[in-house]
Symmetry: C3
Subunit: 470 residues, 3 copies
């Protein structure tokens, strides 16, 4: 497929040639996707039906519908399903038209360039998305999606994905991963162990989750010891299914070590539905330590995603549920908060903890200084609200002067928008090349070093940090 997109996009003109030279050495490298939210069912299905372009590109993408909502477009008008089953817009051509009519809102945003680049490089559509072109583009996408070469496994191969990690609840049977393994298709798709719903006591339906965990492990969870045993059992299972990492989400980075008696007491209250908010907070902080201890034993890389206050808008939450674009970052403290965890495992040779933040001020003040000292720490790439060209530049400028690139974990796309995967890696590779070209131009590194650095940023660091060589 050809594209009229500039081959020099995202490079500063003054260093275009050099950036291009660096970029060209990595643009065809396989994609390492160690963290994301692609549905494994998509790849497990022998034949997958994407639904309409809106089903694929709009309804699952909170980046898109949150922006439209901020300009007064009801989520119902965008086809977002209501929890109460009340009708929402079903005419997907009409939804697509609304999106196109407001596409100017995305000028200069990551979503704006991801969708443009995706239409061009994945779907071969070079026309600009406007009110006038909307229906033509809809037709073209729909037509492509029906073709065999757009089936998920075909795209996986075309995208040149070397490994794709999904994110899976602790109670998942991983049946899609099993089906994939049994299918004989050679694509490497691995699960990630995400125990938030059984660890964070204030999750809605936490006790149901525990019941499910008991059931799936065959361990009767009635106390702290059996609770830990069940989690441990699941880690073993995930690892056997190819997992190399766990993932943990929390509003704060607090870590703390409770005594066994305290942990037992809190869990006991939780099991009878009597845990307080403070119990939940302390138990989460304690379990981060406990999970790190397990990582020291089983070698699973531990990801920490810190700092999102979930479901900020109660009306949206009541009507549409979670992940509807209403999670908002908060200021986060790491230096003191992570101390308990790092006292335990920060010097441990078998532990890798990858930190993600929604507070950019901590890059240079706390995270790079911590990662530049503790062997166990690596920094994840700019996350969520910061996965823009400017966000990446700020990350490079703030992190690297402290800790270099080798205490980072390279890139991950963190997306649930499957066809956007190559585009997101491409933006990162271009941003990296542009930044490195700037270092070369100013004689901070030489070109030979920059060539090794671009390879590390584009490929090597993620593979190594997530232990994907095995």
């Amino acid at each position: 497929m050809t594209s009229t997109l500039s081959e020099d996009r995202y490079f500063e003109p003054a260093r275009r040639d050099l950036a291009r030279r660096l970029y060209d050495t990595v643009k065809h490298l396989p994609l390492i996707c160690p963290h994301g939210h692609v549905d494994p069912a998509m790849l497990a299905a022998p034949h997958y039906d994407y639904g309409s372009p809106v089903d694929l590109l709009i309804i699952p993408d909170h980046y898109i519908f949150r922006m439209l909502y901020s300009h007064g477009i009801a989520l119902e008008a965008l086809g977002i399903p209501r929890l109460d089953g009340q009708p929402v817009e079903q005419d997907h051509r009409r939804i697509w038209q609304v999106v196109a009519d407001h596409w100017h809102l995305f000028r200069g945003t990551p979503t704006g360039i991801w969708i443009r680049d995706e239409l061009a490089t994945v779907f071969g559509i070079d026309e600009k998305l406007t009110s006038a072109s909307a229906q033509r583009i809809y037709d073209q996408i729909a037509e492509k999606l029906a073709q065999p070469e757009f089936q998920p496994r075909a795209l996986f191969e075309r995208f040149n994905i070397e490994v794709l990690a999904t994110t899976d609840p602790a109670t998942s049977t991983l049946e899609h991963h099993r089906a994939l393994r049994e299918s004989g298709w050679p694509g490497r798709v691995i699960p990630t162990f995400r125990p938030d719903a059984v660890v964070n006591l204030d999750t809605e339906g936490w006790r149901d989750q525990i019941a499910r965990l008991s059931e799936i492990t065959g361990i009767d969870i009635h106390d702290y010891r059996s609770y830990l045993a069940a989690i441990q059992e699941r880690r073993v299972y995930f690892k056997s299914m190819g997992a190399t990492a766990t993932d943990h989400s929390a509003v704060e980075a607090s870590t703390e070590r409770l005594s066994d008696a305290e942990a037992e007491a809190i869990l006991s209250r939780a099991l009878r539905g009597a845990a307080s908010a403070e119990d939940a907070r302390r138990f989460t902080a304690h379990m981060l330590n406990e999970m790190a201890r397990m990582s020291a034993e089983d070698g699973l890389v531990m990801q920490l995603h810190i700092g999102a206050l979930r479901n900020h808008n109660p009306r949206i939450f009541a009507r549409f549920g979670r992940d509807k674009g209403a999670d908002i970052p908060v200021a986060t403290e790491y230096t003191r908060a992570l101390k308990s965890l790092l006292d335990d495992v920060g010097n441990h040779p078998n532990v890798t903890i990858i930190l993600f933040t929604l507070d950019e001020t901590t890059y240079s003040r706390e995270l790079a200084p911590l990662a530049g000292h503790y062997p166990a720490l690596r920094l994840g790439p700019p996350w969520w609200f910061f996965d823009s060209l400017y966000g990446m530049r700020r990350f490079f400028e703030a992190v690297v002067a402290n800790g270099g690139i080798y205490n980072t974990a390279g890139f991950n796309d963190d997306t649930r928008a499957y066809p956007s995967i190559p585009v997101r890696h491409d933006v990162w590779r271009r941003a990296s090349a542009d930044w490195l070209a700037g270092l070369v131009q100013r004689h901070i590194v030489d070109e030979a070093d920059a060539l090794e650095m671009i390879h590390a940023l584009a490929y090597g660091l993620a593979k190594e940090a997530y232990r994907l060589n095995g």
Copy 2:
């Protein structure tokens, strides 16, 4: 008037031509001035006497005298009046000389370029301000100020101001606005309702303010209900005089909904002079919600200016009073603090809240994510300590990647220095053009989009956000 100022000032050389092309499409657009501190008396007077150049340019400008003070020059030596009536320097030529002798202090600062550009483009003075040129320049300014074409209304027309909003206390009679309306002069000058002095219980003389509010509304304020009624009455009056917005200032962004009984109890304590600091804090937080509720009804746009710790220097405050360059920003939290307000009106179709911050770290972490979700929120431009070229660039780079430009409220000059108005808009327009040129060069947006964006930033967004189309 001609000027030897570079027509390409403030553009990066590498994108100069493109920036210039964008800028040229907006440089002559009318000025939208929806927030500022120009004295309406200036425009209401049939003939206005500016006093000396120092009266106009130095004595009211805390940006200037705070810098000089920081280098050991007493405010008395700059003619700043003392509260106790003790003599201060009266020789304005001498004051002007002191300023010129220290003009190097302003190198690289916004004040440095505002004054230079203002002398050149408003007064036609291209000579550099130095010790040697000081008196010549003083003469030239004085001469101009005496000319009819430098009268405030003539400048208003020459500046091509489409609308100018002043900021007025809730108890103002708005007599100057009334005089202006009755004068037959067609310039649009509108008030803004700023109720801080009657809302913030810890204002010096709050009870006097309430007495004044009772008097002007004819409502005997003796309880919470009559207090709200008086405020409501004033909003109606301001709106009838053309106001489209209110303005609220607070150290913290805290919002909270008190029960009527609590509000009543606090107000009652305040009315008898017995409110505590905590009462004041909670009442301010509550009244922000209350004002937002009123905005939902009357459609006045609500501005929040958050984060200045006022009167940090007690010696300066005791000797010279407020607004003497001793207000200092503090770190501010919005995500949790605004939740109560947003729970109430964040999804309301009739509410627009424009947020200003003195904590740049919140641009990308809290404000853009909030504005990129809630229909009621817009972000004001870089405020006060951040109204520099670099401050504008950081604003663009931090805000837009999250929420695009269309969740901002464009520009406002926020100045009490009347002749600096066109210069401040010009700096913003140039900074916008420069930044957009960078987006075009890197193929993030195309030039057609950039042309629409520069128009929005220079003109359209402010007009729309402040509901000035009516």
Copy 3:
């Protein structure tokens, strides 16, 4: 010595010629080194033995060994001595090889460019440090160190150091400074009074320090009055030995004025070993005020280094002690915290306080606004984790728009790595020239102003702020 290093290193290509022109006017100016950690014994010795290249360049440099440690290299393998006297690597060639084998970790970091520039410009070694070149380079360094022209005093003269301040505990006899004075060598090396160990009650061995202070002053410290008298006595002595400044370190910027009775009570508890953590915190805060009061009397410039949480890693601290790369910054508040201090001396004509921060968010939000108002305040250059090219750029962009360059204290190298001194100044001078060239290109300042500004940044401001003209 010649070097193949680019003469245009660290300049943006688009403004290279202009930056070079500015830089060339200051590159040969003498070095003002008003704050650092060079051992005065090095200069006092008639003949100084540096030991091996590793003794000079690796073992004292926590920037280097913290990075290697973060990648799993034990500090023992780098020759860092253990507190328990257990053996560590003694083969310095082997240590050097390990460093070179991991030199890629420093790509893009300040350490990477300091060492490269130092090898080239101080040692005349242009070869790149790699595994292959390691031993050759080791030989070359060792050979140079044995030459008379590499003796500390010879380097001092070659480096063109006009004045070098060391940092010395309050209880120091300053015998090396005395020896230097008596030697007849004309180099100006002055002490700095750093009383942390006698002021911060939670210092290990605080009571031993007090005993030492009693001994050296001949004042029996048994109450608050005698404690202050002893400190005062030492200030007089340091000043007599050439000191122009004091230096104070604290985790927080808190300042507070205790009553004499409170101060007495806390000190009394401390003297009998019964002070609490809260006592220590409040006493430190109080003593900052007290020291400022003494500065108002004796004119010693007061440096505040705020925001490092020391010894974050208990294993490293237990095994190797302090200053082993495990100090981590924390978020810091200044606006409220410094209020007590500034209420006391902020307007005092005889006081200069130079603030250093490890929280870059405070540059524009708190520090520049404070320094742009209070006559007593100046801002120190980017410190420690921020002394990189990007850190300097952020400093310029955040600080100067608020307060200009004239409220800064210019540069200081803050190093214990003696041969890196000229390189660090050179990086600052180049970064300054590059930034100023950007201002000139965009017509923010003219070239004549930029020439004065580069001189101030490179030389004048440090000399003036630290009162080194005397």
